[in-house]
């Protein structure tokens, strides 16, 4: 088990134990929207886009929960997520694994690269771009993501009294 899988397993256990069962259920158990584990690989995809590296991973920052919350409200978005996760899992089978989430980091990266490079009108390319856009939207609204980019936080109530000076390093 690599570091990322260890962290994710630990986080899942902790999250479920602390009562945050909704996301754990959504990614590992039958989806409330129908098919079993339809978003099982979503968390792994998010963590490929934003791994635990200079900052927390996307999962650690709660991003999959936000995506699933939107999916619960937006039928089109949910279909897109499901189709995208299916595509990821289909890619995993080339490695003899049934789920993208169970692949090694390198294999996950390879599949995401394929999505990024796919034709503009393809499902996987649209899935990649749409989810990445939303991942950034949620990730960088989480204070845990700010230290590594030296971002102090919301503009108010302090403002930037040092606006005329070089930034502090």
């Amino acid at each position: 088990m690599n570091r990322r899988q260890y962290v994710k397993t630990w986080f899942l256990a902790l999250y479920a134990a602390c009562g945050g069962r909704a996301w754990a259920n959504a990614v590992a158990q039958p989806s409330p929207h129908g098919e079993r584990g339809e978003f099982y690989s979503l968390g792994a995809f998010v963590d490929t886009l934003i791994p635990a590296y200079l900052g927390p991973s996307g999962s650690e920052a709660g991003v999959p929960t936000r995506l699933l919350a939107r999916a619960a409200q937006d039928e089109n978005f949910r279909h897109m997520l499901r189709a995208g996760c299916d595509w990821l899992d289909h890619g995993a089978r080339r490695f003899g694994i049934d789920r993208f989430a169970k692949l090694s980091d390198d294999a996950q990266i390879q599949i995401v690269c394929e999505a990024e490079a796919a034709a503009a009108a393809s499902l996987e390319r649209k899935f990649f771009e749409r989810v990445r856009h939303d991942v950034f939207h949620h990730y960088y609204a989480n204070a845990a993501s700010w230290p590594y980019i030296s971002h102090r936080g919301p503009p108010q109530p302090v403002g930037y009294p040092d606006y005329a000076s070089p930034p502090q390093q």
Partner: protein, 557 residues
């Protein structure tokens, strides 16, 4: 707000933006009983604005009435290969407009008490005198039926109300007095841009801004958060709701009804507006009359109201005897370029547009093109001042590489933007959509927009100069460029109820009064005969409104 008991109303003002707010204040301050009708709600800066929250960047101005589809739009022009250099793009998405026609982004406005001043950046500009003589000097647009000198005292008055900070002197605009507040300091990033501009032989000076450089009139000084467009929770930005409105209310002569939508004006057989019909916040319809009616709904919604109020006395719409209501629609012509500077600048800090280059503002300043423009820092206006937009538009990528680039690049964006003159043309106008009505059965305004080769020639100059300034400032790599060639995106709109002396060529006279309807005044930018060379119109709207009211009352007295 709730209505007071029935009382004598001397003037009805419709709309509470720059023009309506200023008009209501002046009327009330001079002892006139005013009823101000505003379609939108009031905003509470302390409660409604979200700049203190971790998710502050996820939304723009917190609209309470959605404006995205409030108007309809006629098909826009096809995009041509010869103007490919003016296509909008960014590092992550490539070209932003993939279709063959110009894309309708939005008519950027706010429906609420204070109007679009609620989300404006507070630029407080005076019109250049030369830009008020476009017809007689260049045979384009129309001349203003007044001189700069006629407006100058009203500019000073408006500046004192909203609290303008800026240089005491402007070589191109005479001032009888300095602004009430000293100019803001320029941000560190703006100073870097300024060095680039000066390297090219361009001027770069502090801008005039309705943002307080120190406490003033019971309001706090600015703390340079850079998010004026998301609403100012400190009330240091001089929006109408924290300036003209409280002063109007303090007179005891002004009643304000918010969430009150005017459905139509009623034209009578005596060339007077005999009633204003509105729907209140409970949805009930009312009719109110007053000796004077002032319309200030902006250059899109004012013509809509006038045209939609057609009746047997005004079969072509109120004040449309010349056929010009809705015509001569002028929009924001704009461009910005953004790129990465080699150094970390903290460029997300400081006021939007804190500096300005006026060198090309005059109508004949750009070679082979009529109509001027201006240049300012644009990081805040381009919304490149937070990590979400950096990630989505500037850095992109994913994985560890993305994180490294975010770490290395956050705060390094420099952007220069330009706003320029748009000349009226026959294909740019506002009319009533023949098929689409709103929830009250009133036809929606339909926007027709067209950019001529002259406009695009000006835009080309604007784009090139933005790029040159960035290059001279040390920007090594452009990451985003957005212009209004392929994306309609207008905040400043003008011209659709043009003022003038000739009744056949204008809708209102020099006082803003309808040529025919003696008790009808218009006090918004729809009366502008020309757009100016990029000047932000708010201060001029206010000055004109105050002047119109003084002229109205002087005649009455």
């Amino acid at each position: 707000m709730t209505a007071k008991s029935q009382r004598q109303i001397d003037a009805i003002v419709i709309g509470s933006g720059a023009g309506g707010g200023a008009a209501a204040w002046r009327l009330a301050a001079r002892g006139v009983q005013v009823l101000l009708l505003e379609e939108g709600p009031a905003f509470d800066p302390a409660e409604d604005y979200t700049l203190h929250r971790n998710d502050w960047e996820q939304s723009h101005f917190p609209e309470k009435i959605a404006t995205r589809y409030r108007q309809s739009v006629a098909p826009l022009q096809y995009l041509e290969e010869r103007w490919d250099d003016l296509r909008s793009w960014n590092h992550v998405r490539g070209r932003l407009v993939k279709q063959s026609r110009r894309y309708f982004g939005r008519y950027n406005h706010v429906v609420g008490l204070g109007g679009s001043t609620l989300h404006y950046t507070g630029e407080a500009h005076r019109m250049l005198a030369a830009a008020m003589r476009m017809k007689s000097r260049f045979d384009v647009a129309a001349d203003w039926p007044m001189n700069y000198a006629d407006l100058e005292p009203y500019y000073g008055l408006a500046e004192s109300i909203i609290g303008v900070a800026g240089p005491a002197h402007d070589p191109n605009r005479e001032r009888s007095a300095a602004p009430p507040l000293a100019a803001h300091g320029q941000s560190f990033a703006s100073k870097i841009l300024g060095m680039g501009a000066k390297h090219l032989g361009l001027s770069w000076q502090p801008n005039h801004l309705a943002a307080l450089s120190e406490p003033f009139d019971g309001r706090l000084g600015c703390n340079y958060c850079g998010n004026c467009t998301r609403g100012c929770p400190r009330r240091d930005k001089g929006s109408v709701d924290v300036t003209y409105i409280p002063k109007a209310m303090a007179t005891g002569n002004c009643e304000i009804l918010t969430q009150t939508k005017v459905l139509r004006l009623v034209a009578g057989g005596n060339d007077r507006i005999t009633a204003v019909v509105y729907k209140d916040s409970a949805g009930d319809e009312h009719s109110v009359s007053a000796p004077h009616v002032v319309v200030a709904c902006g250059a899109v919604e004012t013509p809509r109201l006038l045209l939609a109020s057609a009746n047997r006395h005004a079969p072509d719409g109120i004040a449309n005897e010349s056929g010009l209501v809705g015509k001569n629609f002028m929009e924001t012509l704009s461009w910005y370029s953004a790129g990465l500077h080699p150094d970390r600048l903290g460029s997300h800090r400081g006021l939007p547009s804190d500096s300005i280059c006026w060198d090309f503002n005059a109508p004949d300043a750009i070679a082979n093109v009529i109509g001027g423009c201006r240049f300012t820092p644009y990081m805040a206006e381009a919304d490149l001042i937070g990590p979400i937009n950096y990630a989505q538009r500037i850095v992109g990528g994913w994985g560890k590489q993305h994180q490294r680039e975010m770490r290395d690049n956050f705060g390094r964006v420099l952007a220069v933007g330009s706003i320029g003159e748009h000349l009226p043309n026959a294909r740019s106008y506002i009319d009533l959509d023949p098929k689409v009505v709103d929830e009250d059965g009133v036809p929606r305004a339909r926007i027709h927009s067209y950019l001529t080769d002259t406009d695009l020639g000006r835009l080309s100059f604007m784009a090139k100069t933005c790029r040159d300034i960035l290059d001279a400032a040390g920007v090594s790599e452009l990451r985003e460029e957005v212009g209004t060639y392929d994306v309609f995106h207008a905040t400043h709109v003008f011209g659709t109820c043009r003022m003038g002396i000739d009744q056949t060529q204008s809708v209102v006279d020099a006082d803003g009064r309808s040529h025919r309807w003696g008790n009808l005044y218009i006090t918004d930018a729809s009366t502008f005969p020309s757009s100016g060379g990029g000047e932000a119109p708010s201060l001029t709207i206010q000055a004109l409104a105050i002047r119109s009211i003084d002229r109205l009352l002087n005649k009455r007295d």
